[in-house]
């Protein structure tokens, strides 16, 4: 035994992030706590969209929370023939639309420039140019704003947007183009 060399043991730890499908398999298998992975993964992205869609921090948080709760209850209806994020945003869109309808009956919808919610940015603090951009976005009608955000900020395909909104691809393309034209016109004088 004295002649044995001590083996060098090298422990390699590899962190593997579970895919959405893998997490969903755990949740459907009865592991409720696994759903927290999806909540943590999608909450910020959903909140980013809801903040720009609704222009209100409290309403956006409520919409996102309701979306994630409803998504858990509707998991049996998720067929996994598309991205989980796209399916989740379908629920989020409807939550945002419902919130807007309720809110429109309760108060004036004009959001002053200094009341648009500030959103943290990865690299830089909020800035004046960013505020101009957010104001220009807020001035779009809800459906134009929604289409632009889904396509160019959240990166969904037109087929996914069709699933999310129930609208035809042509109508969605028109809305995205119209939103882009309005933003371009509105911001052409701003030193971006």
């Amino acid at each position: 035994m004295g002649g044995c060399d001590r083996a060098e043991v090298r422990l390699v730890v590899r962190v593997v992030e579970l895919s959405d499908a893998q997490v969903l398999a755990q949740v459907r298998g009865g592991d409720v706590e696994a759903y927290a992975v999806l909540v943590d993964r999608y909450y910020p992205r959903c909140l980013r969209f809801a903040l720009r869609r609704l222009n209100d921090g409290d309403d956006a948080e409520d919409a996102v929370q309701q979306t994630l709760i409803k998504a858990y209850g509707a998991l049996d209806g998720y067929r996994e023939d598309g991205r989980f994020g796209a399916w989740l945003f379908r629920i989020l869109l409807n939550e945002c639309r419902t919130t807007e309808v309720r809110r429109a009956r309760q108060r004036d919808r004009t959001i002053p420039l200094d009341e648009l919610p500030e959103v943290g940015r990865r690299d830089h603090p909020p800035n004046l140019v960013g505020r101009e951009i957010r104001q220009a976005l807020a001035e779009l009608s809800p459906l134009l704003r929604e289409a632009f955000l889904l396509r160019h900020v959240e990166g969904f395909t037109y087929d996914e947007m069709k699933m999310q909104t129930g609208e035809g691809v042509s109508a969605l393309k028109m809305r995205v183009k119209r939103a882009a034209d309005l933003l371009r016109e509105r911001l052409k004088e701003v030193a971006l």
Binding site: V32, E33, Y35, A36, V39, D40, Y43, P44, L47, R48, L51, R52, E61, V64, Q65, L68, I69, K70, Y72, G73, A74, D76, G77, I91, N94, E95, R97, T98, E100, V101, R102, A104, R105, Q106, V119, G120, R121, D123, H124, V129, G130, I133, L137, P142, L143, L149, H152, V153, G155, F156, T157, Y158, G166, E167, A180, L183, R184, L187, K188, L192
Partner: protein
């Protein structure tokens, strides 16, 4: 496959050609909000409650099924022994059906009175075969959702509302996701939020 791979030749990303929109998209994509600490915790608390409720419901269903098997088996066994028809099983089935109808009726309750109890009773019905939840929202509820109940007829969902005379606008929502119009009512197209609006006109009722 990234979403950029889905671009058709006439659908290239804006940022490739348009510096203004490219800057807009870059700014908006760089936003990454920090959720409140309570937000995700509230979600998981609600999810755990839902999971507990579903487990309790499954346990109840299992218990009812076991009791039914034992009860009907007992009564059927007695009928076989006497050589007669399985009247016991028939009687047990009648009891279960009546109890189910009673429980269902109790759950539905009477007409919902969003405005406090005045007006005419109106029944709204929606056929949705695969739905697990249907609600209706309208100006009569300040667009807060009111739950419909299965009417027991095929795939129909139903709610009774007591509404005052006049024009009412509303829409159904299926499984908290999809808004649908009432096919039995006139429509007013989609509102600015993309929701298909149905219209209900209630005449004044002669005193």
């Amino acid at each position: 496959m990234s979403h950029d791979d889905m671009h058709a030749p006439d659908d290239r990303p804006f940022e490739m050609d348009d510096p203004v929109l490219g800057r807009v998209i870059e700014e908006l994509r760089s936003e990454w909000p920090e959720p409140t600490a309570e937000g995700p915790m509230r979600v998981m608390a609600a999810v755990r409650r839902e999971a507990d409720r579903a487990r309790a419901s499954r346990r109840r269903a299992t218990l009812v099924a076991a009791l039914w098997r034992r009860f009907s088996g007992y009564l059927s066994g007695r009928s076989v022994a006497t050589g007669g028809p399985a009247w016991g099983a028939v009687a047990a089935a009648v009891v279960v059906i009546v109890a189910g109808l009673w429980i269902g009726w109790a759950a539905m309750g009477g007409p919902v009175s969003p405005d406090g109890g005045t007006g005419q009773v109106v029944r709204l019905v929606l056929a949705e075969p695969g739905a697990t939840e249907v609600t209706v929202a309208g100006d009569f509820s300040d667009w807060n959702p009111l739950p419909l109940h299965r009417s027991g007829v095929g795939s129909e969902w139903m709610i009774e509302l007591r509404l005052p005379p006049g024009r009412h606008t509303y829409a159904f929502q299926v499984d908290g996701q999809r808004w649908v119009a009432d096919e039995a009512a006139p429509t007013a197209g989609e509102n600015e939020f993309g929701i298909p609006i149905s219209v209900l006109l209630l005449p004044e009722v002669a005193a």
